[in-house]
Amino acid sequence: MISNLLFRMRALFRRSAMEEELDEELQAHLEHQVEKHIFQGLTPEEAQRRARFDFGDLEQVKDECRRSWGVQLADELAAGIRLGLRQILHSPVLSAVSVLALVLGLVANTMMFEGLTAVMHRLSPQQAPASPVLTARSSVPPPLRPHDVRSAVVARKVHNRRPHRTRSIHRSDESNRARLRPQACERVTTVTAGLFRAPGAGGIPATAWTVREAENGGTLLVLISETWRQTRLVASGEALEMISYRHNASLTIVEFVAGNPGNPQVEGWGPLNLNAQAAKSNSIEWGALAVMEQSGRCTSVTSSLSNL
């Protein structure tokens, strides 16, 4: 391996020395052959002619040797560059026009596709289903597993490192919604690990949610979409579970439930049905989340939902 590398380096950077050695080596071969023929009784001229004939095309042999050095690609590249430079120098005006045309073509293509992409992004929310079919969940939810409880605590702890606190939780619903619009996204901490379990969807990463620390030390979970926003304060020590509903392949709504880890069936399940009904009537669409991309920091929110 190392010898191979060293040999190639030598062939690349000490090419003239290797070429000289090759010449000398092949010349020595010819002379040995001539001597052999002379020893066998031929005249020097005849021996020379015979040796040349036996040897064949000297340049072809050299080419074969160069190929065996393993730097053919570099050789061809260098030759191509040399040829290109020579042609550019030969007709500079034509070359300049060609390069300019190429650059213009590239720029035009890029602009066209950028425009198309932007238009597609704008149009995509309108392609969401008009009447989503919600899959009902069983009326008695399964108890939370220890992992879910632990995950929720971890989520809160992650956010506790943030210095600022949101006071919106004590305001009216309208005030809360105003604060949670996409432009407020810069103040939102996104959770980057899968912390919650979503029984309906087989697992939704917590990046689908944004998490804020509320004033009283609880965790405020926020799901933002263009047509529907849901916020909920979860007091310290409460368990969280996510419930998801799907329409075809697209996620239409994600709901969460806060409950007591000791008895999750009793507390926190009430709002589920209400919110499911609200989601039905509002025709929740996930596509509006694309708006969030513009804020930069909430890309993970969008991507995790759209990946579902």
């Binding site: 191979n4 080596e25 020595a28 071969h29 040995h32 065996s68």
Partner: protein
């Protein structure tokens, strides 16, 4: 690679060169001459194959090259087997013997 009557199978040239160099350092012409002599002139190696093969073996580190003086006091490039080259020769020789034994067995029994 050319010969009088028999085509040298693909990949055999490396084995022949390594085996020839196992006897001691030799320059390219001597390797070619020795193979021709030992094979009773059945095998004749063209320079277009010999030298690329020597350089390839050198690149792989199976042989080393250094300049020296030949018998007639000419400067010549001598090739000698390296440790890894010797190991390679053993492997190739073993593979070749297995192959020829298997082919021979088929020819005799089939």
């Amino acid at each position: 690679v050319a010969n009088r009557n028999i085509d040298l199978p693909q990949g055999t040239l490396d084995l022949l060169i390594l085996k020839t160099l196992a006897l001691g350092p030799q320059h390219g012409w001597a390797v070619s001459d020795r193979i021709e002599q030992v094979s009773s002139e059945v095998l004749s190696i063209k320079q277009g194959s010999l030298y690329p093969a020597l350089h390839r073996l050198e690149r792989h580190g199976w042989i080393n090259a250094k300049w020296g003086a030949s018998k007639n006091n000419r400067r010549a490039k001598y090739y000698e087997l390296t440790k890894t080259g010797r190991k390679r020769l053993e492997d190739e020789e073993s593979a070749w013997r297995q192959l020829t034994a298997a082919v021979g067995q088929i020819l005799e029994t089939a």
